[in-house]
Amino acid sequence: MRPRVRQPSRFRWGTAVSHGLLLFAVLMTLGPFVYIALSSLKTQISPLMGEVAFTPTMLNYEEVLFDRTSDYFRNFANSLIVTTTSTALVMVIGFFAGYSLFRMRWPMSVVNAFLVWSMAFNLIPAVSLAGAWYEMARSVGLANDYLAVIFAYTTLHLPMALWLLASFFREIPRELEEAAYIDGAGFVALSHCQILTPSSGSRCALIFAPCNKNSAQRRSTSHMIRSKQ
């Protein structure tokens, strides 16, 4: 720890500029959110009339949440099912593959093939695969089924997870595992439950975030997969 030295005063304005910049950036970032939140409290006609002052109404929320024709909860549940299942799949499969690739003495060609493929796969627009996935799902009777969408998203997110986990497994010291192994821990207890999982928790969260936020994007792709006739 370095001793805390009081910064000379000529640096103060630099800090002030930084604060100013960041504050401006935060305002720009939050602006659209505030705007959409305010709009959600307006009646349908209000924005059309360009009203600035308005009386807040909960009508829109009532319609979305409680109206009999609303399919919001149904859609939300769909997203939730697809998201949690595919994220769990991605994490488990990616975890084992990452561990295997960097700890089980695969030849370098196998490791590289995996990593290159992970990178290359990111380049392919998902749109161009949706058609092929749809036909495959239909031929095995899974069209219009959760499983088809879950597998599609697992495939889409696995490369990224593999990249992140791969670089992570390279960083975890091998000694940690070896010590546990000498103490008599078996493979499962050793690597996956007691040593690696705790230390890779943050990394898994990193994988979870992008998978999760795509839940609504999911709808656009799954829509394509399901509705192409």
């Binding site: 910049l21 960041l22 939050l30 959409i36 493929w117 796969f121 392919i124 161009s128 936020k213 609504a216």
Partner: protein
Amino acid sequence: MLTLSPVARYLSLAPSVLIFAALAVLPVANLVFTSFFEVSWLEGRKQMAFVGLENYARIPGDPLFRAGIVNTTILVIVATTAQVVLGLVLALACARIGYKSRFYRALLILPILIPGIVIGAIWRLMYNAEFGIINLLLQAVGFPGHDWLGSTSTALAAVIVVDIWHWTPFSFLLLLAAVESLPRDVTEAAKVDGATEWQRFRYVTFPLLIPALMMTFLFRAVIAFKVFDEVFLLTSGGPGTATEVVSFTIYQRFFLQDQTGYGSALSVTVIAVVSLIIVIAMTAGSGKVKEQ
């Protein structure tokens, strides 16, 4: 050294291999295969006629594809550059403030947590010519309103602004990690030697950050190239072909016009072109880093 049974070795890799083979390799192979055929549907049955390279021959003359390539290139270059520059400025500002900046960090990354579809919806409302907040604000300070998404001259710029808003936090996060892992002693040595703040940035911090900047740029460029959701919701490629992007062209040809064979050829071409660009960029990039 750890010794594990060969069964565990294969079992641990098997699920990924299966998924890659069945859901990634196979569809791409299928895509390449289909690109040589003319696909039509007759009474619910798929009819395939071999046409050789005809689908590929059509690509250079396709007006949608041409517009898509030009617009996507503009979008990737302008948006990615802006995102990297803004992200760097914000990361440096955060690093200077230090621990106290965690409040800003938490708020700044909000946009990447929001799905593109939602962002498209928000901005579409904001851009609205009659009652959008942007025009209302402009009119309040005396400028005339403008139909941002509806006119060919501003539609692409409007989409780029949204992309910058959406993805600057991403490059900010990556660059913040890079800035914070910079060695302190070199900057301090430069300070002792009497380098001004600008000189320290120009000759110490910036060169050290070049690999991270290249990586961020490449990463963002790849994602930007695939932009779909925002364009789909904001403009659907219009007006005319003003905001037509490659992903959207593929979507139109493939799904809306049911030209499966031609759409496949488009996809294969795009994948090949992008891979080529990335290989070139990476070789050039690593050469440059070595020089320094």
